[in-house]
C-alpha cells in the first residue's frame, strides 16, 4: 500500500509539473510578437506630463491643451527633430517638471540617492542589531525553553514567574 501511495504521489508531482509547464507554454504567444511600428508622437507624449490632467501623462489625457501639445510634438517631428530634441525643447520651455522620468542631475540627486542611501543605512543598522542581539540575551533561558512555547500566553506567564522566582 505504501509503495502504491508513493507511486501515486510521484505521478501527482509530475502531473503538477507538466501543468505548470503548460501554463508557461500558454504564455508563449504573448512574446512571439515583434513590437508593431509605433507612432512617434504618441510615444513622446507618453514621456511628458500633462499640464492639465494631474498625475497623468500627456498621451492619456483627453483635454484641449494636451491636444495642442501633441500637435506641437507632431509639428516639431515634421520639422525633422528627433524625439530627444523634442523632449529637450519641452524641458527647456517648461522646466524638468514636464518630464515623466525626473532628470538625473543635481536637482534630483537626493531623489535618486536617498533610496540607495536608506537601503545601505538600513542594512548596516540590521547588521548592528544582529551583532548586538547575538551578544545579548540570556543564553541559559534560550536553551532551557523550547522556542515556539513563548507563543502561548500560559507559557509566557509561566516564563515570567520562573524568571521572578530565580
Amino acid at each position: 500500500m505504501n509503495a502504491s501511495t508513493r507511486e501515486r504521489e510521484k505521478r501527482g508531482f509530475w502531473a503538477g509539473l507538466c501543468a505548470l509547464f503548460a501554463v508557461v507554454l500558454m504564455a508563449m504567444p504573448a512574446f512571439a510578437q515583434a513590437p508593431a511600428p509605433d507612432d512617434e508622437t504618441y510615444h513622446i507624449a507618453k514621456k511628458l506630463n500633462c499640464p492639465t490632467c494631474a498625475g497623468r501623462n500627456l498621451a492619456d489625457c483627453p483635454t484641449e491643451t494636451c491636444a495642442q501639445w501633441k500637435a506641437e510634438i507632431k509639428s516639431q517631428l515634421d520639422q525633422g527633430k528627433n524625439s530627444q530634441e523634442v523632449l529637450d525643447y519641452f524641458e527647456a520651455r517648461f522646466g524638468s517638471t514636464v518630464l515623466q522620468e525626473p532628470p538625473k542631475d543635481g536637482s534630483t540627486a537626493i531623489l535618486w540617492a536617498a533610496p540607495v542611501g536608506a537601503a545601505v543605512v538600513f542594512f548596516i543598522g540590521a547588521a548592528l542589531v544582529m551583532m548586538r542581539v547575538s551578544k545579548r540575551g540570556t543564553p541559559a533561558l534560550a536553551t532551557a525553553i523550547p522556542a515556539p512555547a513563548s507563543a502561548d500566553p500560559f507559557v509566557s506567564q509561566l516564563e515570567e514567574d520562573v524568571k521572578k522566582a530565580s
Partner: protein
C-alpha cells in the same frame, strides 16, 4: 429632520470619545473597574452614534434633499438609487464621515472582544482608540461637515463624479478605509503595552489578527483600485504610481514587514524594539498618508479637493510622533531581547533582511511621492516623479523580496545548515532553469525579464514544495492520501500555509507585472473608414462610430466600432466597441476601454478620437501580456488570507488553550 438628528448623533459620538479617553485611564490609575467599564461602553457606543449620522446623510441622499450641500454636490435627480447610496463616500466630507463609521466599527469590535488574557491593556487601548477616532470625528464636524445646509436649496444637484461610477468604486474606498482604520487596533495595543510596561508578547498575540485584517483590507483595496484604474481610467495599465495609491501601498509594505517580524518575537522573543517601531511606523504612515491625500497637498488622479484640514492633520501627526517617541524611549529598558541570535544564517536573520528590504522599498515610494513637494519647497521647482523612477528603484527591491520569499522558508530557526538548504533548493533551481530555457527558446531573450521569470518559477516551485514536503510527511506518518494530507497540513498550521498561499499569489502577480512591464506595447493608429491596421497578430477593421445611449442619464456616448480579425487567417474574432462618455455638467470625458484577446495576451482598445463625423478615427491599442495573472494572483492572496485567518480551532488544543488562559488570567499583576 432625520438628517439633523444624524448631525446631533455625530456630535454625541465625539462626546463619547472624549469621555472614554478621560475615564478609562482614570479608572486604571484609581484601580476602579467601574470607570474602565464605563469608558469601554462609551467607546463602543460611538458605533451606533456614527451609524445614525450616516443613516441621516443616506436619508438625505436617497430623498434628494438638495438643501444639504453635500447631497447637491455628489448627486442629482438623475443619479440612480444605487449611486445615491455609494455617494456617501463620493466626496471629501461624506467620506470622512464614512471613514469615522468604519473606524468606530473597529473600535466597537475591539471593545466587545474577550478581554480575559489582556485585561491590563484595556483602559489604554480604549483611550488610544477613542483619541484617534475622536480626532477624525472632530475633523468631520468642525472642518468637513457633511450636514451643512444651503440657505436657498438648489433645484438639482451636480451628480456623482463620473469616475466613481464603477462597481469597483463601491467596494474600493470602504476596503481602503477598513485597511487603514483596522490598523488602529494593533497600534492601540502597542501603545497600551508600553504605557503599562507589559512589553512581553501579550500585545503581539492580541493584535496580530487585527493587523492581518487591516493588512488584508488594505491589500484588497489596492487590488480593487488597480482594477478600477484598468477599467475606467483608460490607462491601459493597473498601477500608475499615483500618490493616492502610493500612500496606502507604503502602509501596506510596512504592515507586511510587521506581520513577518511579529513571528520572530512570538517564536524567539527577539526584536521587541523593532516590532514596536514597526507598529508605530505603520500607524504613522497611515495617518500621514490620510493627511496628505485628504488635504490636497499632493495632486493626483483622485485626491480630494484642496482644503484647510492640512494644518490640523499635521499638528496631530506631530503630537503622535512625539508621543510615540517619548513612550518608546521611556520604555526602552523593558524591551530587551529574551534570546540570543545564534546565527545570521537563520530564519530570524533572513526575516530581518526581509524587513529591511520592505522598509527601504517603502522609503523609496515615500521619497518619490514626496519629492515634488520637497523640490518645490527647497529648490523652488516642482519636479514630477513619474513611473520610470519607481520602476527603476523600487522594482529591483521588490524582485529581491520575491527571492527572499523563496529562500526564507528553507532556513531553520536558530541556525540553518547550508547543506540542508542546498538540498531542498536544488530541485526548484533546476525547475527554474528549465523554465528559463523554455522561455528563451520561446522568444523571451531580454535578460532582466528572463531572470525575473526564472526567479518567479523558482519561488513558485519552492513554495509548492513546502506543501509537498509537509503533505509527504503526513502521508508517511498518518497514512493519509495526498489530498487529505495537504488539507490537514493547512488546517493544522493555518497561518503558515495560508502565508505560503499568499506567497504563491504574490509570485503570480509578479509574473503579471513582469509580463506587462517588459512585453506590454501600446500604439495609436489613425484609420479611415473601412480600412484596417495590424497590431500583435490581429487585424482591426474600422467600421465607423455611432452615438449610443449612455449608461447614465447625464452623459452622451460615442462608440467606436472595430472588427478584430486574426491577421494570419483572416477569421473574424469579434467586434470591439470602445467608447467615450462625455459628461456636460462635470465637463468630463471618460475613455472606456473594450477588452479582448486571450487570457495571457489581453488586447485593450480605446477610442482616442475622430474627425469629420467619423470618416477617420484614432484608436489606442494596448497589448497587455500576462496582466490577468495580477488579478488571479490577487484573488489567491485574499484566499490565502482567509486560510491564515479563518478560525478553525482544533478541538483538543482549544481546550488546552482555554485551560491555559484561565490560569494565565488568574495570577495578580
Amino acid at each position: 429632520m432625520f438628517t439633523d438628528l444624524g448631525h446631533l448623533s455625530v456630535i454625541l459620538a465625539l462626546l463619547a470619545c472624549l469621555y472614554a479617553a478621560v475615564v478609562s485611564p482614570l479608572g486604571a490609575v484609581r484601580n476602579d473597574d467601574r470607570l474602565v467599564q464605563s469608558g469601554r461602553v462609551a467607546a463602543f457606543m460611538t458605533l451606533p452614534l456614527v451609524l445614525i449620522g450616516c443613516l441621516g446623510l443616506w436619508y438625505a441622499l436617497i430623498t434628494h434633499d438638495f438643501g444639504v450641500q453635500y447631497v447637491a454636490d455628489v448627486s442629482s435627480i438623475a443619479t440612480p438609487f444605487f449611486f445615491r447610496v455609494t455617494a456617501l463616500w463620493g466626496s471629501q466630507n461624506g467620506s470622512i464621515l464614512f471613514w469615522c463609521l468604519i473606524m468606530a466599527g473597529f473600535v466597537a469590535a475591539a471593545m466587545v472582544k474577550d478581554w480575559k488574557t489582556d485585561r491590563p491593556l484595556l483602559p489604554y487601548v480604549t483611550m488610544t482608540m477613542a483619541l484617534v477616532l475622536g480626532f477624525f470625528i472632530f475633523i468631520q464636524l468642525a472642518l468637513t461637515n457633511a450636514f451643512v445646509r444651503y440657505d436657498f436649496p438648489p433645484a438639482d444637484g451636480r451628480g456623482l463624479n463620473p469616475l466613481l461610477r464603477h462597481p469597483g468604486m463601491i467596494i474600493h474606498p470602504p476596503m481602503l478605509y477598513a485597511g487603514y482604520t483596522g490598523l488602529l487596533v494593533p497600534f492601540a495595543f502597542c501603545v497600551a503595552s508600553l504605557i503599562t510596561r507589559r512589553t512581553d508578547n501579550l500585545w503581539l498575540i492580541s493584535s496580530r489578527r487585527w493587523t492581518l485584517v487591516g493588512w488584508a483590507f488594505l491589500g484588497a483595496g489596492l487590488l480593487l483600485g488597480g482594477r478600477w484604474a484598468h477599467d475606467v481610467l483608460g490607462w491601459g495599465g493597473y498601477w500608475g504610481w499615483d500618490p493616492s495609491e502610493n500612500k496606502p501601498f507604503i502602509t501596506w509594505l510596512i504592515a507586511t514587514a510587521f506581520v513577518h517580524s511579529a513571528m520572530i518575537q512570538e517564536k524567539r522573543g527577539m526584536f521587541k524594539n523593532w516590532n514596536v517601531f514597526l507598529m508605530m511606523l505603520t500607524f504613522a504612515s497611515m495617518f500621514f498618508g490620510t493627511a496628505f491625500i485628504r488635504s490636497g497637498l499632493l495632486t493626483s488622479v483622485h485626491a480630494f479637493a484642496a482644503s484647510d484640514i492640512g494644518p490640523w492633520f499635521m499638528g496631530a501627526m506631530l503630537v503622535i510622533l512625539i508621543a510615540c517617541a517619548v513612550l518608546w524611549l521611556t520604555r526602552l529598558d523593558t524591551l530587551h531581547s529574551e534570546n540570543k541570535l545564534e546565527s545570521a544564517f537563520s530564519r530570524e536573520g533572513i526575516f530581518l533582511i526581509q524587513n529591511v528590504l520592505f522598509l527601504s522599498t517603502a522609503f523609496t515610494v515615500f521619497i518619490g511621492t514626496m519629492f515634488p513637494i520637497l523640490s518645490e519647497a527647497i529648490a523652488g521647482e516642482k519636479i514630477t516623479v513619474g513611473p520610470p523612477f519607481y520602476d527603476q528603484v523600487a522594482g529591483p527591491q521588490m524582485i529581491a523580496l520575491v527571492l527572499i520569499m523563496g529562500v526564507a522558508p528553507l532556513l531553520a530557526w536558530h541556525k540553518a545548515s547550508g547543506r540542508a538548504v542546498w538540498r531542498q533548493m536544488i530541485g526548484s533551481l533546476i525547475f527554474a532553469v528549465v523554465v528559463m530555457g523554455a522561455l528563451f527558446v520561446g522568444g523571451v531573450t531580454q535578460l532582466i525579464p528572463l531572470l525575473g521569470f526564472g526567479l518567479c518559477a523558482y519561488t513558485l516551485a519552492q513554495t509548492v514544495m513546502e506543501f509537498v514536503r509537509g503533505a509527504r510527511a503526513r502521508m508517511k506518518g498518518m497514512g493519509e492520501n495526498p489530498f487529505v494530507a495537504t488539507l490537514r497540513l493547512a488546517q493544522k498550521n493555518q497561518r503558515r500555509y495560508g502565508g505560503y498561499i499568499i506567497h504563491i499569489g504574490i509570485v503570480l502577480m509578479a509574473v503579471g507585472a513582469i509580463g506587462k512591464g517588459f512585453y506590454g506595447t501600446d500604439v495609436i493608429r489613425n484609420v479611415p473608414l473601412n480600412e484596417s491596421f495590424n497590431v500583435a497578430g490581429y487585424e482591426f477593421v474600422y467600421r465607423g462610430i455611432r452615438p449610443v445611449q449612455c449608461e447614465f442619464d447625464d452623459c452622451q456616448t460615442m462608440q467606436g466600432m472595430l472588427l478584430m480579425k486574426d491577421a494570419a487567417t483572416g477569421n473574424v474574432i469579434e467586434g470591439l466597441f470602445p467608447h467615450r462618455d462625455f459628461y456636460p455638467i462635470q465637463q468630463h470625458t471618460a475613455t472606456i476601454p473594450f477588452i479582448s484577446g486571450t487570457f495571457n495576451n489581453e488586447i485593450y482598445v480605446l477610442l482616442a478620437g475622430w474627425e469629420n463625423n467619423g470618416a477617420t478615427a484614432s484608436f489606442q491599442v494596448y497589448v497587455n501580456p500576462l496582466i490577468n495573472w495580477i488579478w488571479v494572483g490577487g484573488v489567491i492572496v485574499i484566499l490565502g488570507f482567509f486560510i491564515a485567518f479563518w478560525p478553525m480551532p482544533d478541538k483538543a488544543p482549544a481546550a488546552v488553550r482555554a485551560n491555559a488562559r484561565s490560569m494565565a488570567g488568574a495570577p495578580a499583576k
